[in-house]
């Protein structure tokens, strides 16, 4: 068994947060 196991939901949560930051970037630019 691997010591530290990666999980698909970690990718999902990190990706969601990257998307938030991208959205914030466009909000900053737009307003």
């Amino acid at each position: 068994m691997k010591k530290y196991q990666w999980n698909k939901m970690y990718t999902l949560v990190l990706a969601a947060n990257v998307i938030y930051i991208i959205v914030f970037y466009f909000i900053t630019k737009a307003f």
């Binding site: 990666w6 970690y10 990190l14 930051i21 909000i27 900053t28 307003f31």
Partner: protein, 566 residues
């Protein structure tokens, strides 16, 4: 406050307390009382973790922060999802495998008893004081705006929390937090909708954002490397990750929330739930503040939102000067009105620049008013809070929300205070029971341990109320608590990271390194205080963590035989 508000406020709070106490009665053993019998599902854990972090000050102060400085504060939370992933991968599997009751129990398993005791004591000092401030901070604001008795309010909040936390332990904390979060979300969403409805009819949401943007309130991201800028993408990602790792991974008030999970998977999903929703939630709370800012572009705002501060200056020799500034603000408001009308009808960029300039002038007037308030306070020998950031949202609630909803929003604030305090008392009692009492007394039966945990919860509740009651007397207690937190956190996180990732480092090296680091971090803090170095407090977490790891590795390298187990 109308009768309906009182009914909604008292009804909501009492219902939650009574339901929580009833649902969680009859814990027979320590596992039931301190880990909620390991029955929590992921949504309970997720909501509980969020409710613990979101104190009343989050809902009072964050909208005010956005009102003054815009949306940039959301960057503070950028490190949270990264920390959640590390905690799910490293911290939770280990805690789960070792079946620990407290995070510090792991340290004895990995190092020795003295390292466990040191970390537990650092937690108790810091969290014990912080629990008092969690009660005091909203109480002082509510007593100022509503004229309620501060001591009585401190005692009421504290006693309500003590009732269900002593009675049902972790299960009661989890059950009540779920309901408290429902009340909090409902209240905040209703407040947001009402603010939007109170804007003039031709102001759409996009127009409102444009008006906020024209005054720099929509600058969410700051990529600069300015150390003096507290909230940037980098400080959020780096400093924030370390702070959130310490808080969620080593602070028992959070660790206890996920240790109550039914299985490893439930604990991990609960934390991921937090990682997914925390940033949007903070964004939403800040957006409420920005919309309050837009609302006051169309409605007269007081020069200072703290009524107690205004009263002091109005009864001083500076009253005339204060009224002069107020008249200037009214003129400025009329000028802004005309400008906003043309800004809405045609998107001329020059109007945006003019609006920004007028709002800048308005800020200057507010700053002059603050100076007058401070002078008046000094002259009358009265301690007064001239910074009205924390009073903006509550002022809006009390003056603009319909009856019934004022009661609901006050229930939101008090629920938030109670949910954070209950987690803190629960964790303080667990740490005292498991890390100090059980470890230093003869074998006790399950019933005796539950009884001891209940007494410790009660004792910490009384201490928290005591701290809340004297907080107003101490000059800078809130600041002191924040400082203590940032001074200890990095060091404790470093001890845990050494335990997880540096297998060759043993107990004696860690213990000595932790003591040296504590002295060094306190030294750095004072060097910053006296402006010899420039190190904002958020970075103390990172620095403390790095120093303890470096020193422990060095000590272990210099003396490889340094290992002792209790």
């Amino acid at each position: 406050m109308q009768t309906l508000d009182w009914i909604v406020l008292i009804g909501t709070l009492l219902l939650i307390v009574i339901y929580g106490t009833y649902q969680s009665r009859g814990s027979k053993n320590v596992k039931d009382y301190l880990k909620g019998g390991n029955t929590s599902k992921w949504w309970t854990i997720g909501l509980s973790v969020m409710a613990t972090q979101a104190s009343a000050i989050t809902f009072l102060s964050t909208p005010g922060q956005a009102f003054n400085d815009g949306m940039g504060f959301v960057q503070f939370y950028f490190g949270l999802p990264i920390a959640m992933v590390v905690i799910c991968m490293v911290f939770i599997p280990l805690y789960h495998r070792l079946k620990v009751y407290t995070a510090y129990e792991f340290l004895e398993n990995r190092f020795d008893l003295k390292t466990r005791t040191l970390a537990a004591i650092l937690f108790l000092i810091q969290r014990g004081l912080a629990a008092g401030i969690t009660i005091f901070a909203p109480a002082i604001i509510l007593s100022a705006v509503l004229g309620w008795n501060l001591l009585l309010l401190n005692i009421i909040i504290g006693v309500l929390v003590i009732i269900y936390t002593v009675s049902g332990g972790t299960k009661a904390v989890n059950v009540t937090q779920k309901h408290q979060m429902v009340v909090i979300f409902t209240g905040m969403i209703i407040a947001f909708v009402i603010i939007l409805n109170k804007l003039p009819e031709d102001i759409t949401f996009t127009k409102a954002l444009e008006i906020a943007g024209a005054s720099g309130k929509m600058e969410v991201l700051d990529f600069s490397f300015d150390f003096n800028n507290r909230y940037t993408v980098w400080s959020g990602l780096i400093g924030g990750t370390f702070l959130m790792l310490s808080y969620f991974g080593t602070d028992q008030s959070q660790v206890q929330r996920y240790l109550s999970g039914k299985s490893l998977k439930e604990m991990q999903i609960g934390m991921m739930f937090n990682g997914l929703l925390k940033v949007p939630m903070q964004f939403f709370i800040l957006m409420v503040g920005v919309m309050v800012f837009v609302f006051y572009q169309f409605n007269n705002a007081p020069l200072n939102f703290n009524p107690a501060a205004t009263e002091i200056v109005q009864t001083s020799e500076f009253a005339q000067d204060y009224n002069d500034i107020q008249s200037q603000q009214e003129l400025l408001f009329k000028e802004k009105q005309a400008l906003i009308e043309s800004l809405v009808s045609n998107d001329d960029i020059r109007n945006s620049e003019k609006l920004a300039l007028l709002n800048f002038e308005n800020e200057k007037l507010r700053s002059d008013a603050r100076t007058l308030i401070e002078k008046a306070g000094t002259q009358q020998n009265i301690k007064v809070e001239s910074n009205d950031k924390d009073y903006v949202f509550i002022h809006f609630i009390l003056t603009n929300l319909p009856k019934g909803l004022i009661g609901l929003l006050l229930a939101v604030i008090l629920s938030a205070a109670m949910s954070s305090t209950s987690s803190e008392l629960n964790a303080l009692a667990s740490t005292t029971t498991m890390d100090l009492y059980k470890r230093n007394t003869s074998e006790k039966s399950e019933t005796e341990m539950v009884k001891a945990s209940k007494w410790f919860t009660l004792a910490w509740g009384m201490i928290a109320i005591g701290v809340a009651c004297v907080a107003n007397l101490a000059e800078n207690l809130i600041q002191l608590v924040n400082i203590i937190g940032s001074i200890f956190y990095g060091n404790v996180l470093g001890i845990f990271l050494l335990g997880f990732f540096f297998k060759f480092v043993k107990g004696n090296a860690v213990f000595t390194a932790a003591l040296i680091t504590q002295v060094l971090v306190i030294g750095l803090f004072f060097l910053n205080q006296y402006e010899i170095i420039n190190l904002p407090f958020l970075w103390l977490n990172f620095v403390g963590c790095a120093i303890v790891i470096a020193i422990a590795c060095l000590l272990q390298y210099l003396n490889p035989n340094t290992h002792a187990r209790a």
